[in-house]
Structures are given as structure tokens and as C-alpha cells.
């Protein structure tokens, strides 16, 4: 980063995407921030799945219908979307559990049938070429709290034609419909893009042991080179900056605990500028 003051303002889209503001860590770039595509600090990209099909609202990480935009689909609430254009959205999850033995269905108490919704991003990728077009959607005929395997002959289904929503806003330019670099307004209601993000005042920062959810924030701060070629620094959740990294080993004496974050996250979490978390270690 620059040591000199610079007055540089990115103008076109590639400059905006690449530019790193002074003092920001590398993970604040959209291309390097894991948090940009998972519940992190900028926005929850999974939210684009919720209103991907015009008329209904899906859970952002599942094939479960949680709401409707169009009254005529209100009966779909609680049902599961099993296939789109005959392609299943869920699969039987199998894998080995014992060395030397073959794979078996991996069931849990939540998914007794060992059925998992395929990664939503795969589904989105398959549908992206169908924006604005109708696709054949196969739903369970009845509400289904647990996952259902598509193609199960014991499950009654219903087929509806639904339109795939455009992900990006479009505008008419000289009579041609053109895509803009904006997420379509109809794709998310206010707040929906950020409601799934991790929140400092909840469990998230402590729950995610590798600080994945807090990815936009440096988790190793006050770093200085050590004589032996390694480095010295502080864990970002340390109560006090000592220059000695405190390992997170459930010893809540040296690190911030859940209660600290619930009650006073705004004062116990500190700013990091140029890699230094205030106050500097003595």
C-alpha cells in the first residue's frame, strides 16, 4: 500500500472492482473475499436464489418454498421444488463412514432420507441461460418438512411453469434491452441481500472457529517480523494486544467471549488500520 497520500478515485467498473482503499486488507477485493460469496460482511450472494423464480420465494439455501409473490402460488408454501426442466435439484448423499467399507447413505436426524439439496450455485448456473423464459418446475404435491428425493414414486408431485427471473437490471437502449451492472431490483426486497450475513452482536464471530465468517476483517493483527524468520502478532479477538498470539482453546480468559460480543461488541471489537489494531501493543 501507498506510504504517500493519494487522491485516486476509481471510475469505470474494472477500476471499482480492483481498487483497494487505503488501509483495507486484500480480502476486501470482491475476487479475494470469501465473504462475498458466503455469509460474510458485504452481502450474502445466496440471496439471489430466493426470488429466482417469479411468483414464489425459496429458502436461500434450499428447495423449500417459504413464501409467494403471487397469490395463485400461496398453496406452494412448505412444499419442495424437486426438479427444474426434469433435472433434479436434490440428490441422495452417500459416502464412506468406515475405512475399507463402501459408501452408504449419509442420513442425519434432519435428513433421515439422506437427501441433500444440490449446491444452489449449481442450480443457478444451470438456469442462467433461461433468464426471462419459462421452465418446468416439479413440486411435491404436499408440504414436506424434510428433504424429498426427486423421482421418489411414493411422493405425489405437481408441475408448474415458472419464469426464471433476470438477475441483472435491464434497460432499453435505442430499442434494445441491455443488461446493466446492477442486481435486478425485483430479485431482492430491501434487506434481503444482507439479512443472512454474520452479525458481530450474535454468535457468529465466536462460532466460526477459523474466522471464515469474519473474513473481511484481518484475524492476525499487529504483525511484526521476528528474529527467527517467523512473525509475532495478536489474535484479533484477544482482550489485550500483547504481541503474543493467543490461541483459541476455549480459554475465554484471554479472548473475547460470547457475552462480551452480545453486550458490547461495538466497544470490544477494535479498528484495524494498516494492520495495526488499536491500541498498539507496548
Amino acid at each position: 500500500m501507498s506510504e504517500e497520500p493519494t487522491g485516486i478515485t476509481p471510475r469505470n467498473l474494472s477500476a471499482q472492482l480492483s481498487y483497494r482503499g487505503r488501509g483495507n486488507p486484500p480480502v476486501t477485493h470482491p475476487m479475494s473475499a470469501i465473504s462475498n460469496c458466503f455469509p460474510g460482511l458485504e452481502f450474502d450472494f445466496r440471496a439471489i436464489w430466493r426470488r429466482f423464480l417469479v411468483g414464489i420465494v425459496l429458502s436461500e439455501n434450499n428447495n423449500y418454498v417459504v413464501g409467494f409473490e403471487d397469490e395463485k402460488y400461496k398453496d406452494l408454501i412448505g412444499r419442495r421444488l424437486l426438479k427444474i426442466n426434469d433435472r433434479p435439484l436434490s440428490v441422495l448423499t452417500q459416502g464412506p463412514v468406515m475405512p475399507g467399507r463402501g459408501p452408504i447413505p449419509l442420513s442425519t436426524s434432519d435428513t433421515p432420507g439422506a437427501v441433500s439439496f444440490m449446491e444452489w450455485s449449481n442450480t443457478v448456473a444451470l438456469l442462467i441461460g433461461h433468464e426471462g423464459a419459462k421452465v418446468r418446475c416439479e413440486f411435491t404435491k404436499d408440504p414436506a418438512e424434510t428433504e424429498v428425493l426427486p423421482g421418489d414414486p411414493n411422493v405425489a408431485t405437481q408441475i408448474l411453469e415458472l419464469e426464471v427471473r433476470h438477475i441483472f437490471e435491464r434497460t432499453q437502449i435505442d430499442g434494445t434491452s441491455e443488461r446493466l451492472a446492477l442486481l435486478a431490483e425485483a430479485l431482492a426486497k430491501p434487506g434481503e441481500l444482507s439479512q443472512g450475513l454474520c452479525s458481530p452482536w450474535q454468535n457468529d464471530y465466536r462460532e466460526c472457529a477459523c474466522y471464515y465468517w469474519a473474513a473481511s476483517r484481518p484475524d492476525y493483527v499487529n504483525v511484526v517480523p521476528a528474529d527467527d524468520g517467523s512473525s509475532r502478532g495478536d489474535n484479533w479477538l484477544q482482550r489485550e494486544n500483547t504481541g503474543r498470539y493467543a490461541v483459541d482453546n476455549a480459554d475465554y480468559q484471554s479472548l473475547l467471549n460470547y457475552d462480551d460480543l452480545f453486550k458490547s461488541w461495538e466497544s470490544v471489537l477494535r479498528f484495524v488500520v494498516g494492520g495495526v489494531q488499536e491500541p498498539r501493543p507496548k
Binding site: 500500500m1 501507498s2 506510504e3 504517500e4 493519494t6 487522491g7 485516486i8 478515485t9 476509481p10 471510475r11 469505470n12 467498473l13 474494472s14 477500476a15 471499482q16 472492482l17 480492483s18 481498487y19 483497494r20 487505503r22 426442466n85 448456473a125 444451470l126 442462467i128 441461460g129 433461461h130 434497460t171 437502449i173 435505442d174 430499442g175 434494445t176 441491455e178 446493466l180 451492472a181 446492477l182
Partner: protein
Amino acid sequence: MKDPAAARIVPKGPEQSGPKHRDVHLLRTDRGGHLFVVDGSQLFDLDEDTFWRFVAAADDDQMAGLLRSSGLATERRRIDDEAPDDMPVRALSLAIAQKCNLGCTYCYAQEGNFGTAPKNMPLETALASVDLLLADTRPDERINLAFLGGEPLINRAVLRQATTYASAKAAERGQAIGFSITTNGTLIEADDADFFDAHGFAVTISLDGPAFVHDRLRPFKGGRGSYERIVERIRPLLDRKGRMQTTARVTVTPENLELRRTLDELLGLGFHSVGFSPMLASPTGRGEMDQSALQAMLAAMIDCGKEFERRTMIGQPYAFSNILTALREIHRGSHRPYPCGAGGGYLGVSADGELAACHRFVGDDAGAMGSVEYGVDASLKAAWLQDRHVHRQVPCRTCWARYLCGGGCYHEVLARGRPACDFIRGWLHFVLQVYLRLTSSTVSPPYLARS
């Protein structure tokens, strides 16, 4: 800080858009100084102190250091020296008729037949080309089928059957397909509009200006003017406001440099958009642009661009396609090591079923790429992309415009080298300024939305 010596070397107008630094181009508008970073085609505003620090960089090494210390250099450059090795062919153009009823003075196809006996593409070859395109792509990849010539409408029956066939085959596998045609417009029949509209054709009509100019450059083979006939024939196309679009392409020679008049006249006819392209290399040398003609063309392009800017500021459409395309590419930060898809994602097919790097290399061994029967020759394609990477082109490799320009049309470069570099840089310099002005204003058009 600003000093008079530095002020002299700062580019102000397009005439000062010449290559100075390998990694950046510095420019000014009435709002101050700006920096175009070649890597990633990134555009920045600079405050005065910062701008003059960049101006003071004496050579490429100092400039690279300044970019690094400003946080503007990435560890890995976005475009490396390697050619892509997995570029599927997503677009084919069929030389459906290697013959033409016009006798244009400058035609790269030598009045349509590419220097051989005139011929039509047989239906089997056209259908086999469609099969090749479908076989080499996945259903989720958009493909495009273009019809060129010669004059493609001489072979209307095969054109229509190939289109219908491709349309049905693509629909079977849920694949998006686009169709385009470049035609001289003289043979259009009333029901062509229905056909083009039904298949969403992008129709390009070659027109070189108002009648008195056009008729000199693009007469019928007997010498009679073609303008009046074309305008009459294309009327049903221009009146369509459905799926199809009809645009005009003007080939600019020293004889038709009145671009603004041409633009206004053609837009007045109802074209969806109008674009200009300089004639840089013709088989006979006739109609080629020399340096003074290119300078005059740049001035005329800028004149059209200023009118575009003026109209945009008051919310009026003005479909000058050169500036619309350049603005969109600058907005996105397009950066590519090639000028076009030729020899990569796009190939041409001759009437005999030979594959060529593009429609201009039909029948030319220099651009041979295999055949429809035996498929794309992967080694020829790989060698083509390897040799033509802009990092391998001199002087392109050190030019600031290299990732927007890509090094110029291969066919023209082979024939005549690169006579238009100053023209291209001057034009891009101007459009960068227009971009900066439009996106600073409150009436910035929606296709330039910032975030």
C-alpha cells in the same frame, strides 16, 4: 506540482494520444487529471498532486514503481503471454454465396468470389457447418451463425434452410442461438423481413453514404448506382420493430469522409444504429485510407462523437455505434489480447466447406483452419492464437491501447501492416474523455451505471 514544463507534455487532445508509457495513459478533461491503467483497462480520477507525480515519471520503470506505491499494480497481470488453449468455436460465418451483384471498388472478396470461380454453398455444407457448431459447444453456451458472401441473398434458399435447421436443432437442446447477415441490400424481398424477424436476425446493410457517394463506391457490376434500389428494398426491414435489428455499416474511403452527414442521413432512414470502418487494405489498393485521410476521418468521427455527447446530455438517442461500443467497453474495462474472435471463438466457412480464420480469409491458405468435413484443425488454431497474441506484436506490445484495440484486423495487418494506430489511439483518447464527462454528469445514460 504543476509546472510549465510538465504542462507541455500532458496529452490534451487526440493528437497527443501517442504512445508514451507502456502501462498507463494520462489524460485531462475540464474536471482535472485522469489515469488509464492498461492492465485491466481501469480508469481513475487523480487529484492534481497525484496527476503531476504520474506525469513526472520519466520511464516505464518509474511508472511501474509509482503504480505499485499507489496500490494500483496487482501481483499478477490480468493478461499473461499465454494464448488460450481451450477456446471453443461459438460462432461461424458461412460464405453462403461466393459471388456478388455489386462491383465495389475496394472489396476484400474481389467483387465477391475471392478470386476464384463464383459459386454457391451447397445445402449439405451449410447443414454440416451447423452440426459442427452444435457439436463443439454445450447447450448452455450461446452460439451465433452468420451469413456473409459475396452477397448471401444470392443463395437465399440455402440460407433459409440452414437457419431453420439450426434454429430447430438448437431449440431441441435448449441452446440459445443468434443469427446475423451482412448484405448489400439490393436483393431483399418483401418476405425476408418476416423471416429475419422470426429468427431474430441482426441485419447489417453495407451503405457508404448518401446516394452520390455510395453509387460511386458500391455500384452494380454494370456501373449503375445501387443506392436508390437498396433504400427501397430495405424499407420493410427498417419498419420492423420486433426481434430483428437493422444496422448500417459504412466503409470509409478517401472519397466518403463526410461522416456526420452520412450518419444523420442513415439514422434518418430509420437504421437501428450506424457504424464506420476505415478501408485499410483492398486487394487492388483502391479506396485505401492514407495518413491524411485517416486524420480527416478521426476529425469527422470526433465531430460525430461530440454530437452524440450533446444529444446524450439532453436525453436524445443518437445511435452512433462506434462510440456506443467504445463507451460500453471502457465502462466495463474490457481487456483482451486479440482484436476479435477470428481464429479463436469465430471461424469462417467457404462455399466448399473449408474452415478459415474468419470471413475475410475464405480461400486463403494463410488463415486455413481445417474443414467442415474433418473438423477444426486444433494445431492450426493454437498456432494462430499463439502467433497473434498482442504481446507478440511490435509495436503493439508497448502501446497503451493494446488491450482495447488488440492489434488490428489480422487480414488488414497482413496486407498493409498497421497504418491506423494514431487513428485508433486518437479515437480511444477522445472516447475516454467523453466517458469521463458523461459519467460525471447527472444525465449519465443507464448503460454507464456506476454501481
